[in-house]
């Protein structure tokens, strides 16, 4: 709870920072400092929950919000990822437009939304969390005001987003009609064998609504355009940290409240997973721009994360944590490199290894991770979610299909590696690559490998 309050305050402070501070660099320093404080508060909370309260969940607002040790741990990791994101891409964020303080304020508010989503106990909080998370994203998507594509992205995102929120709300209402409660644990009284049709319809609406937010096929249509049109630094944020935040909400709802009804929704989620994997991977192959490829690949990665929703067991929770961190860290790394490049097509990367061997090496590791090569975080992430699915049983066909799709994903991730290492050319950069950039990318790269070698460090013990 302290972290939620602190993150809100940070958002408010950042809104005023534009007035108080003249230089962009001092705003950047301020947000970095504040995020460090926030990280400290998160660590304090995790420590508290672990030692003082003996793992008991703390409830707030009449048990509408319940921060258990999983939620706190997830919040801590996501705050860490956000800090890494700001450290890596801070300068690029400042280059998007003139209202730098506001961008950071919006990012802080999104973080509040994620905090709520990881610990909600009540569908109203779920709804509020989704809204707090979404509205700042609409603004961020359109923050490059002079660019038509950015405005298009914002409008499209806003329209589709509010539409999906409406569907989500409809689902919540139907569930309330069936059970008379918003409490997610209250849904456990639903009968498995004689399921109230209202409740069933409600669950379907919730799948569609949440599927929109995590860009699961066939509700993924908005994703490529929005991710491609938004300013790249914000695409990096939206496609990683925000997305996994919504995934945790998805998981929490379907495991905690509808876990025993899984025979009613399992097949639908399985089909959605298969479609997401298929569409995400196959369309990513045909892209010419690396940014657009990353947009489609984020759909494909969502397909893997859906495995965690699909498998109602403890491994799925470990899986989503590892996946969240590994995917966010590696993607942010790739985006950080992409932002340095003038040309976003594959050809823009030609010859990078000769000009900047360190940069190319780090990018290669990030891409290995996204493709799921062992000893990188991405492998462990895929491993955990697929393990959860195998333990669940019933969906072995889907696991094999997912692995086929993982091989397809190697195809487009390796195109970047081929361009960097084996094709001649001289890449052009937007800005000079400083020692600071290399240091930060090196740390990110180290994190990716650390997740891959000792994943237990990132699991909530």
């Amino acid at each position: 709870m302290k972290a939620i309050i602190a993150a809100t305050l940070i958002g408010v402070i950042m809104m005023f920072s534009s007035i108080m501070l003249q230089k962009k660099s001092s705003i950047h320093t301020l947000i970095v400092g504040l995020l460090f404080v926030l990280l400290g508060i998160n660590i304090w909370e995790v420590y508290d929950a672990h030692n003082v309260m003996a793992n008991g969940a703390q409830s707030f607002f009449n048990n509408m919000l319940s921060l258990d040790s999983f939620a706190l741990w997830f919040n801590l990791l996501m705050t860490g990822c956000t800090l890494l994101y700001v450290l890596l891409l801070g300068k690029d964020i400042a280059r998007v437009g003139s209202h730098v303080g506001e961008y950071f304020a919006l990012i802080a508010f999104i973080l509040v939304g994620i905090y709520l989503l990881s610990g909600y106990n009540n569908l109203l909080i779920l709804f509020i969390g989704i809204e707090i998370l979404s509205i700042p994203q609409y603004i961020l998507a359109g923050s490059d005001k002079r660019n038509l594509k950015s405005s298009e992205a914002a409008l499209k995102y806003f329209l589709m987003g509010s539409f999906s929120t409406g569907i989500l709300l409809m689902g919540i209402t139907l569930l309330y009609g069936a059970t008379g409660t918003f409490d997610i644990l209250g849904f456990r009284m639903l009968q498995t064998d004689a399921l109230n049709p209202l409740a069933l319809a409600g669950i379907m609406f919730l799948i569609i609504g949440l599927g929109f937010k995590v860009s699961a096929a066939p509700m993924h249509m908005w994703t490529p355009d929005v991710y491609d049109g938004s300013p790249t630094p914000f695409t990096a944020f939206m496609s990683t940290i925000v997305k996994v935040g919504v995934f945790v909400a998805f998981l929490r709802l379907f495991h905690a409240s509808f876990g025993n009804l899984s025979n009613h929704w399992m097949l639908i989620i399985a089909i959605i997973t298969a479609l997401t994997l298929l569409i995400g991977n196959l369309t990513a192959v045909f892209q010419q721009s690396v940014k657009r490829m990353l947009a489609y690949s984020s759909i494909a990665q969502a397909g893997f994360m859906l495995f965690a929703v699909l498998s109602v067991n403890a491994t799925a929770w470990q899986g989503i944590i590892i996946y969240a961190v590994a995917y966010s860290v590696a993607s942010i790394g790739v985006f950080a490199v992409l932002l340095k490049m003038k040309d976003y097509t594959y050809d823009g990367f030609n010859g990078l290894a000769r000009k900047e061997p360190m940069l190319a090496f780090f990018t290669a590791i990030f891409l290995f991770s996204l493709a799921g090569i062992p000893l990188t975080g991405g492998f462990m992430a895929k491993y955990f979610v697929l393990l959860a699915a195998v333990q669940q049983g019933q969906v072995m066909w889907l696991v094999i299909f997912a692995l086929l799709m993982a091989a397809v994903s190697a195809f487009y991730y390796f195109r970047v590696i081929i361009a960097m290492y084996f094709k001649p050319g001289t890449p052009e950069f937007n800005s000079e690559i400083t020692g600071y950039d290399k240091l930060m990318l090196g740390i990110t790269c180290l994190l990716v490998i650390l997740i891959g070698v000792v994943p237990q460090l990132f699991l909530n013990a």
Partner: protein, 479 residues
């Protein structure tokens, strides 16, 4: 001890990226000689029983960092230990672009390959399996021939797909025995054997496909000739002498004992595929004019024979397989060395443009002749003893059609003599073609070649050490 065997090349490989200039070559040689000494010591020690090493790694996943060297592992580590310095010595005078990354990647792949041979934990095995692949992918794509990028990419996607299928199978097996060591060899085999025959039979293909692609077995071989042709010769040696052994080794360690009923069910299918592969590859080898492609197809034929024997379920066949894995590694290394020398001197690998090597480079043609004899398994070369045992094994196999298999595979061997001798004739004899670099073998090439030739003849005359080293294996694998 066993960890050293992996970590010496690993660390030397990483350091090699930091060395500028040609120092990397020296570092690589030093490291590979050190690993040779270590692997010889390990091979000697395993005479008194298997060596093991184990420490906890990721208990949540049920995986341990566990290594074990029995006769088979020690033999293959020794092969790796011998091949690496030979490759480096033979290429000593050849300038490569960016030597630090070239030799660094070579050493990293060596670490991966050794790890595959030693891993006694399925997930660790999978990790090394991939670790060996990635450096080779970079080596081929960067230093290879004209069509290298597309060809190696095909190779990569093929093998990556195979390994993912294997991973699915291994995860499935590991979930059957929960605990902190569910990936250990003992638990995986126990889990596999406890499954119903139907489950085992689909699990068999999930796991086997990875190995079949690596070996490669017909019809999964299509990546191989192109990749061999396009890779730089040192890398081709690693691929053909060592990496295909990974597939063969994996069948013996991670397939035959793991899903015994599945194996029994599919034995005939696999042997038929292998035998088709032998004849098909031999026929294709006859019509090749490019030396590299010829050797590549001949390698498919030899691997087919080994695979057929591995599935024949007979003790002598299994023992022959062990011997032949080593011998094939030695022979094919010699073959590639000759090919690369020819290419360096005459500037072509096209046999129709070659000839008269016996007059202009007599030493080279003697070496070629000896290697060629070993390749067609003439008595008193090392190839003979291995192939004799393999045929014996296929003949004694459990299948009702063993006789047929043996006869058809035997045709393949006759065809083998046709293309090998044809190659000798076209390159060593006939019209003399002027050399571009007029020189017989240089000192470093002679040293490397001499090592190979001595091994070929020594193991042909006195194969006892090799037979003893691997004597216990067949009993341990066949129930």
């Amino acid at each position: 001890m066993l960890t050293l065997l992996i970590f010496v090349p690993l660390i030397a490989g990483i350091f090699s990226f930091l060395v500028k200039g040609n120092g990397a070559k020296g570092l690589a040689l030093a490291s590979s000689l050190a690993t040779l000494a270590l692997s010889a010591y390990v091979a000697f020690e395993t005479g008194n029983g298997p060596l093991g090493f184990s420490m906890p790694w990721i208990p949540q996943l049920g995986t341990q960092f566990s290594l074990q060297a029995d006769g088979m592992s020690a033999m293959l580590c020794l092969l790796t230990g011998i091949v690496m310095p030979v490759v480096i010595i033979a290429n000593w005078n050849k300038e490569v672009e960016r030597p630090w990354s070239f030799y660094g990647l070579m050493l990293l792949s060596q670490a991966g390959i050794t790890g595959v041979f030693l891993a006694y934990d399925a997930l660790l095995f999978y990790f090394f399996w991939e670790l060996a692949l990635i450096p080779v992918y970079f080596l081929c794509s960067r230093w290879g021939g004209e069509r290298r990028i597309a060809v190696t990419f095909k190779f990569f996607v093929y093998t990556f797909l195979g390994s993912l299928m294997m991973l699915a199978g291994l995860i499935y097996l590991a979930t059957l025995t929960p605990g902190a060591d569910s990936y250990s060899w003992a638990n995986i085999t126990r889990a596999g054997a406890s499954l119903s025959p139907e489950n085992q039979s689909w699990l068999f293909w999930l796991i086997f496909i990875a190995f079949a692609i690596k070996m490669p077995i017909f019809p999964f071989h299509t990546w191989q000739p192109d990749t061999y042709e396009q890779s730089p010769t040192p890398v081709t040696i690693i691929l053909s002498a060592l990496m295909v052994k990974m597939g063969m080794f994996a069948v013996v360690r991670w397939l035959l004992p793991v899903v015994p009923s599945g194996v029994a069910f599919w034995t005939d299918t696999v042997i038929v595929l292998s035998v088709i592969g032998i004849v098909y590859a031999s026929l294709l080898a006859i019509v090749q004019t490019d030396l590299k492609r010829l050797v590549a197809y001949s390698s498919i034929a030899h691997m087919g024979l080994m695979c057929a024997a591995a599935f024949a379920h007979s003790e002598v066949g299994m023992h022959g397989l062990m011997v032949q894995m080593f011998n094939h590694g030695i022979n094919i290394t010699g073959m590639w060395l000759i090919v690369s020398m020819v290419e360096n001197r005459w500037g072509t690998r096209d046999m129709s443009k070659l000839g008269g090597m016996a007059t202009s480079a007599p030493q080279m043609s003697i070496a070629l002749l000896i290697i060629a004899f070993a390749n067609i398994a003439l008595p008193l070369t090392n190839g003979f003893i291995g192939e004799f045992m393999l045929f014996n094994g296929i003949f004694q196999g459990a299948s009702a059609f063993s006789m047929t298999y043996m006869v058809v595979a035997g045709v393949g061997i006759i065809l083998g003599a046709v293309y090998t001798l044809n190659m000798v004739q076209k390159t060593a004899f006939g019209n003399t073609v002027p050399m571009q670099v007029a020189k017989d073998m240089t000192l470093n090439e002679s040293v490397a070649m001499a090592l190979i030739v001595v091994l070929v003849i020594f193991l042909g005359v006195y194969p006892k050490p090799l037979l003893e080293l691997t004597s216990g294996i067949s009993g341990a694998i066949l129930p």
